[in-house]
Symmetry: C2
Subunit: 378 residues, 2 copies
């Protein structure tokens, strides 16, 4: 594939939303800061906007380069001139989720009532609350209807929540490697991560800001998560049973096998960029999520006109393909126009970030159809 | 199935072995205590002895009841009068592994050189060292040749190590839900468990005996392990998305979903009965294990006469069936008589402890043939 151009230098913007957001549990939170980035130009009729939704540990920086960084945004391979989300044609928006720690209000933000970080005084949030927060941003940008909402993993849950909550405000939705709701196994994975964080003596019931951070517990949670993002096959191909060099004498604390060194590296890196309390709030929102809200999903989306493209990956055992098929089935049962594509990847759940060549074609064709099939929109 | 009789009250015995054991890494350890139990009677020619090998968190108490306990040994369904390991016919031995914490010398035992627990001064041990320790016990019991060695998970690794190290001392071997060597994914699972333990501030580089124990870290390791012992299907069937009752107001530290309560319960229970340093040493022995030792396994067992029955379980994703098939393939390539049976279970890795009805038939017939096919043995 010819290397595609980058969108170039971008920067994160902040929408200071003065109004209070009423959460699903009726609690209110505000004023809010919403961190977001945009790529491409909004057309005159404002009909070319696509909202990209990030996963658990993602952020608003989906594409291009920050002036002080060498690595591009997390979905740079898909967003840019001539790419799947073609910025010559579409206006792409990505924002950090409510409860996050990358610029949008979350547990590490200052509570205006106390002048200190919220910590565990931050209210419980839901995936629907994250989406409500995104809706505030989309309104602020003056967009009445989104051409598409798209995301993988937790981003896919948000995409489904948009389909449920604002069906008339979207023309299409692309849920990738995701689920209508978490299985008990998925809840269990998240719970062990939370327990690892809370078992760190630095966690102090969430009141660690300004002191020592629960980095060991958070690193364990991330290492554990990382295993679930890969696959048995991809780990075998990448590491085999290769041992680290210069490991004399043996110590339990040092990496012995290459795969251990890889996990340590990713665990240590993660704690530099992520807040432990955000990890608790966001994973709990995922576990509590049910895309239908108060109704079965199939019933909740009856009569919806948005078109749906569901993508799953064969070796993904964290969000197995059967969960994506459940989304397609519910859509079809409710009369929605839904397509399903299972990509034959060995990369496990991470495939949604890696299999960009196939995603480019699948998403490119789908968006093209949605965009031109409705000439009234152009 | 008609309920079978229990072997009744049993007790753990201890073999105080005065000699020093030379380990695979040439270090020496001793004197040793070896905790073991026996069920049934050794026949006059000493040809009816079966060695049962336990998994990571098991112990010598495989069957019957201790006088002060309500629950039977961990494989009681398979060991007893008329059961798979029929104690009316066979003499069954089970011992706690070297490095363990249930009566056999391990890191929590007193180091005779210092008068204090070994802690991390305990030498690195291997699965082959565990088996060498079992050989001392078998010699002590006056048995020249075992009718069979059998175990699931890490017990199956020990069974393969017997096949490699003492092929002339066994007539058959039954490796269940196990592997010739760990994949990087299996190493990664163990490493995250170890990291959870070592990230507990009470761990103190292993020197925690007599003080506060690293119970939080060990509980996290166990909770994580527990997920890998079950399957997506078995968790869905057992818990669904059922919420715990009386969980007002929400707290991150309290179980919210039933599956979380189950994990907490098993984590909390485990720390009462297991030593964190034993967890480190034993999982590292598993990760380093390669059944061939210094040779490819297939080459290492060439010419071996022992018969092999390999059992795997369809939903086991911790020790997937393909790893059992690799054992069978290596045996067949080396001319051994090997049978393979994949049990159609939904219980995941735990199936080796649960699918006792099918195991009873598979193992019962196999042992019967081995026992009577060699009349010289009777």
């Amino acid at each position: 594939m010819t290397p595609k151009k980058s969108i170039g230098i971008v920067e994160t913007k902040y929408y200071a939303c003065k109004e209070k957001l009423t959460l699903e549990n009726n609690k209110k939170i505000g004023p809010l800061s919403i961190a977001y980035e945009t790529y491409g130009e909004l057309n005159q009729k404002k009909t070319n906007a696509i909202l990209v939704l990030h996963a658990l540990s993602g952020d608003a920086h989906a594409a291009g380069f920050h002036s002080d960084e060498k690595n591009p945004g997390w979905w740079d391979a898909l967003i840019g001139p001539g790419k799947a989300f073609d910025t010559d044609k579409y206006f792409v928006i990505c924002s950090n989720v409510l409860g996050g720690c990358k610029g949008t209000t979350g547990p590490s933000s200052i509570n205006p009532d106390t002048g200190n970080p919220y910590a565990l005084d931050f209210p419980q949030i839901s995936i629907f609350d994250m989406v409500k927060c995104q809706k505030l941003l989309v309104d602020y940008l003056g967009i009445d209807k989104l051409l598409s909402v798209v995301g993988g993993s937790m981003g896919g849950m948000q995409a489904l929540a948009w389909l449920r909550a604002y069906p008339d405000k979207i023309s299409s939705v692309i849920p990738i490697a995701t689920a209508i709701r978490h299985s008990p196994q998925q809840i269990a994975f998240n719970e062990v991560g939370r327990q690892a964080i809370m078992s760190d003596s630095n966690w102090k019931s969430g009141d660690y800001y300004g002191g020592s951070l629960p980095v060991k517990g958070l690193a364990v949670a991330r290492m554990f998560g990382h295993i679930t993002y890969m696959s048995d096959i991809s780990m075998a191909a990448k590491f085999g049973r290769q041992k680290k060099q210069n490991q004399e004498p043996f110590k339990f604390t040092a990496a012995d096998f290459e795969v251990e060194g890889y996990l340590h590296y990713h665990g240590d890196n993660f704690v530099k960029r992520f807040d432990a309390n955000s990890y608790l709030y966001i994973t709990k929102a995922m576990d509590n999520f049910d895309a239908g809200g108060d109704k079965p999903f199939e019933e909740a989306i009856r009569g919806v006109k948005a078109k749906v493209l569901v993508i799953a990956f064969k070796s993904d055992w964290l969000y197995p393909a059967y969960q994506s098929k459940e989304i397609v089935k519910a859509c079809k049962l409710s009369g929605l126009e839904a397509s399903y594509c299972e990509v034959n990847s060995t990369y496990g759940h991470d495939a949604f970030l890696i299999e960009t060549e196939q995603e480019t074609r699948l998403i490119g064709h789908f968006l093209n159809k949605v965009f031109y099939a409705a000439p009234r929109l152009i």
